[in-house]
């Protein structure tokens, strides 16, 4: 009996602890400011952080009747921009002007201004990776010009411009660079980081009425360690992404083997691998690219799609892809030079003995590495019609 009483007393005491200790990190959902996007710029010696904060009362969800109220514009977010000496300082400044607690867990993109990127992003990475609410899976993106301008676009198709940037990144690459992979690339040897580049664009020519600002991804930003060294345009960037095997269903325009005009091939499944070879101190890397292609458009008058002719179309495709990739590789090898493909890493991983010998001289060797591109593409579907549909029979080029 005494035992039972003792047990009960212990149980009651234990239960009490639940209510004594409780609630210390409890945050009601309407005491939180959801930071959806973040743009970081350099302003003289200061950081300028622009936070895109969601206004849930204005997000127009069906359940928000009676809630929110107010007609302060139809945007479902507002910007809060601050400057401070340090990055953390900017959010402390921001919190001073906000009645709700800044909550970063739903921030899935991070725009980095061009100027800041050129100065180096290493100092701010610690905050972005240490504080648990800052997600490592967030996507860093470099902007042309100031980052806040991209964040402050209309981007009418998505609720938030930051969300639009994110979706664009996923369209662009199968596995977009996240903070984690970006940091990883900064720290690894034999590979240099890169990030997608976003810039503002108008949705229609600017002399039309009702112009809305929009965002587009054009090209990639090349980093050397943590510093931006340059940006490359859309076309070579796409070729490089394809060479990495990261492209998300890219379409390649090939000149028709005969006749006039172009044929579009969509590479549905694409994959690539790097095969380094070191002989007498000379480094050769072969990029093998495997893909399955689908003909999506035939804008030429080339009409014969028999097996033999498919071979020559495939040849043309191979040649085109090889040229594109080589052009891209030439850019990053000679102009910057930055090893974003990770040629060095492939040597490190596959022939570590050789890597030990050359790794100290890698920066010097890299621009002269010979890159061979070997595309292996099978065009599987040419469509249900085998001749261009809008042409007369006599205009179609046969053998």
């Amino acid at each position: 009996m005494v035992l039972i009483h003792k047990r009960r007393a212990v149980a009651i005491l234990l239960l009490c602890t639940i209510f004594i200790s409780g609630c210390w990190d409890r945050k009601e959902i309407n005491d939180i400011a959801f930071v959806i996007g973040l743009a970081i710029d350099k302003e003289k010696d200061n950081y300028r952080t622009s936070l895109q904060i969601a206004l849930p009362g204005q997000s127009g969800s069906a359940g928000s009747e009676g809630g929110g109220g107010g007609t302060s514009g139809d945007k479902s977010w507002f910007m809060l921009s601050n400057t401070a000496k340090t990055l953390r300082g900017t959010s402390i400044e921001g919190q001073k002007a906000l009645s709700r607690e800044l909550y970063y867990a739903h921030r899935r993109t991070m725009l980095i201004g061009e100027e800041l990127a050129r100065d180096g992003v290493a100092p701010m990475l610690d905050l972005l990776t240490r504080y648990p609410l800052n997600r490592l899976s967030a996507l860093p993106i470099v902007t042309r010009g100031s980052a806040y301008k991209v964040l402050d676009t209309d981007a009418p198709i998505e609720k938030f411009p930051s969300e639009m940037v994110r979706e664009l990144c996923f369209l662009n690459m199968r596995k977009p660079r996240s903070l984690k992979t970006f940091t990883d690339a900064i720290l690894s040897e034999g590979v240099d980081p890169f990030l997608p580049v976003a810039s503002t664009a108008d949705n229609v020519p600017s002399n039309w009425k009702d112009v809305k600002t929009n965002i587009k991804l054009d090209g990639i930003a090349i980093f050397k360690k943590d510093k931006l060294v340059g940006m490359i345009e859309k076309a070579p960037a796409d070729a490089l992404i394809l060479a990495m095997g990261e492209a998300n269903e890219p379409e390649v325009m090939v000149k028709a083997p005969r006749g006039n005009g172009d044929v579009f091939i969509k590479l549905n499944e694409n994959n690539s691998s790097l095969h380094p070879h070191v002989a007498n101190g000379k480094v050769t890397v072969t990029i093998k690219l495997y893909a399955k292609g689908v003909m999506v458009d035939n804008e030429s008058n080339y009409g014969d799609l028999r097996d033999q002719e498919m071979m020559s179309l495939t040849q043309a495709l191979h040649q085109k892809i090889e040229e594109d990739i080589k052009e891209g590789v030439r850019l990053i090898q000679k102009q910057y030079p930055a090893d974003i493909l990770g040629l060095g890493r492939s040597i490190h991983q596959q022939i570590p003995k050789e890597w030990k010998k050359i790794k100290d001289r890698w920066d010097d060797i890299y621009p002269d590495v010979k890159v061979i591109v070997e595309p292996h593409i099978i065009i599987e579907n040419v469509g249900v019609i085998n001749k261009p549909i809008g042409l007369q029979e006599e205009d179609i080029v046969h053998d």
């Binding site: 409780g22 990190d25 969601a54 928000s64 009747e65």
Partner: protein, 527 residues
């Protein structure tokens, strides 16, 4: 546990206050043997049944010389039986009797009734009358006759109200004990089906029947139950619930340790798995024990439908039990502690809906859950015609007006209705109530500690469940302690041709089926 507590109570009582004998003081006449004369019969019975307007006294002539007194209680006897099979033969005998012959002695050959009993004390005679017999007293005889003329209006066999099925028998138990035992006997035509009868309740003298299949049920278990039933000393048993609370293992556990059913097929199925059932006269429910938690999530239909369907339904039930127990708590925990766990768009629409709500999520959830429980309770208690109005009112007030007025948020309405629906998928009503009950402490834990609190709640419940027993059988048996044959009927319901063994809660005659039964793919191979 039950043993311990009753022992404790007994010792306490003897220490503190004088022992008061159970039951009402009986009139002294009951302790006397039946007297001889007609007049003394009248006096005695008027003493016993004073102020009982439902007791009928009728003088009958058994022969020209011998007078008799017929006593019965109006309404609980079958008057036609008395008229046709008692009075008519007696009167005919009287007419046919020739005056010169001595009166034929009265014996049971003259009465066309099956159950006839001789008694010689007033106590037995009175008990007989109270149990729907007709008492015939004869002038000059110290023995009286009791004729069983049980009757009276009782409800007929109807479809069970609480456990309806799509496929399966539609008959349910009634308030009449013998009808219930008969319904069971129809299903189990074996002499091994035992029905031990006992009377519990000093005033109600309720007939309680313990039934089991002798060759299947564990004899130790049956001995234990008999012991527990015999320990009950109470003035009245009006429902199976009295017995359930008086004999269960853990009186302080929120979890039911016996289950009750209105369905004869459910009882039969459980008896075949080695359990026992208890019928109580006057209750349309049978108590079944020992049970496991898994049984609480099984409906009789699980065994009547093909196993694919049964498995789907069973998994849906498992899922919804979890929802019924944890969904409001999860909602509270996630919206007040772990806002990072939901997709951005979802958390924003919840945030948008909650923007104008004046209460914290926990209070909001408690308001809604309590009003839902109130609505449900009102729906049960109110007359059917008013019930409709209540549900419409409830749906409008809680569902729409409260959201529009900005008192509760729309997501919370969804959560509460999901929880409500989920709790109705649990086939056993008593288990569903337990789940509803436990939801509230878990909600409080979630409101105080977030997901950590939910886990604490889950751990506490698991610890309690693992140490719990129902009549000595572990509540989670099959899973803990693990038994390979038992798992065949827990997470999945294997096809009948795979359920060769009875659950391991019974210790003898485990195999219930020929293991190469026709039609099973295994058997087919040999053909």
């Amino acid at each position: 546990m039950a043993d311990k507590t009753s022992g404790k109570d007994g010792s306490k009582g003897s220490e503190k206050k004088k022992h008061i004998p159970l039951g009402l003081p009986s009139p002294p006449i009951l302790r006397q043997p039946i007297s001889l004369s007609h007049e003394s019969h009248m006096l005695a019975l008027e003493d016993i049944f004073s102020d009982c307007s439902d007791v009928v006294f009728r003088n009958v002539k058994i022969s020209s010389e011998v007078e008799g007194l017929l006593v019965y209680i109006e309404g609980i006897v079958n008057s036609t039986d008395i008229q046709d099979h008692m009075l008519r033969p007696l009167i005919r005998g009287l007419i046919e009797q020739r005056t010169d012959e001595p009166a034929a002695p009265l014996d049971d050959t003259r009465i066309a009734l099956t159950q006839v009993k001789k008694v010689d004390t007033w106590a037995d005679a009175a008990d007989g009358v109270l149990e729907s017999s007709a008492l015939l007293l004869i002038n000059g005889s110290k023995e009286a006759w009791l004729f069983n003329v049980k009757g009276g209006v009782r409800r007929g066999v109807e479809e069970p109200q609480t456990e309806s099925v799509i496929r399966g028998p539609r008959e349910g138990f009634t308030e009449t004990l013998r009808v219930n035992t008969a319904l069971l006997r129809f299903k189990l035509k074996t002499p091994a089906l035992k029905m031990l009868s006992m009377t519990i309740g000093t005033e109600t003298k309720t007939n309680v029947v313990l039934t089991y299949i002798d060759d299947i049920a564990d004899p130790k278990l049956i001995k234990d139950v008999k012991k527990r039933l015999n320990k009950i000393k109470i003035d009245g048993i009006l429902e199976t619930g009295y017995i359930e609370e008086l004999i269960e293992d853990h009186p302080y556990s929120p979890f039911p340790q016996m289950h009750y059913t209105e369905r004869p097929d459910t009882v039969a199925g459980n008896l075949l798995e080695g359990r026992f059932a208890i019928f109580v006269d006057g209750s349309p429910f049978a108590l079944i024990a020992p049970v496991t938690m898994w049984q609480m999530l099984q409906a009789s239909e699980d065994y009547y439908e093909r196993f694919f369907i049964s498995n789907l339904v069973r998994w849906i039930r498992f899922l919804f039990v979890a929802i019924a127990l944890f969904l409001p708590a999860l909602y509270i925990a996630i919206t007040t502690f772990h806002q990072d766990m939901l997709p951005t768009t979802l958390i924003l629409s919840i945030a948008g809906a909650r923007e104008a709500i004046p209460f914290p999520a926990l209070v909001e959830a408690l308001i809604m859950e309590l009003s839902f429980e109130a609505l449900r309770e009102a729906g049960v208690r109110l007359p059917k015609t008013v019930g409709q109005a209540v549900s419409i009112l409830g749906a409008l007030v809680i569902g729409q007006a409260a959201v529009q007025a900005g008192i509760v948020s729309a997501p919370m309405v969804i959560i509460v209705s999901m929880t409500g629906i989920a709790s109705f998928t649990i086939p056993r009503f008593n288990f569903a109530i337990t789940v509803r009950l436990l939801r509230f402490p878990i909600m409080l834990l979630a409101g105080a500690l977030g997901l950590y609190g939910i886990v604490i709640g889950l751990v506490l419940i698991s610890v309690h469940l693992t140490q719990m027993t129902s009549f000595g059988v572990p509540y989670l048996s099959g899973l803990s302690p693990y038994s390979k044959t038992d798992t065949k009927d827990i997470v999945i319901r294997t096809p009948w041709w795979k359920m060769i063994h009875r659950p391991s809660t019974v210790h003898r005659d485990q195999q219930r089926m020929n293991d190469k039964i026709n039609g099973s793919p295994e058997a087919e191979e040999g053909w």
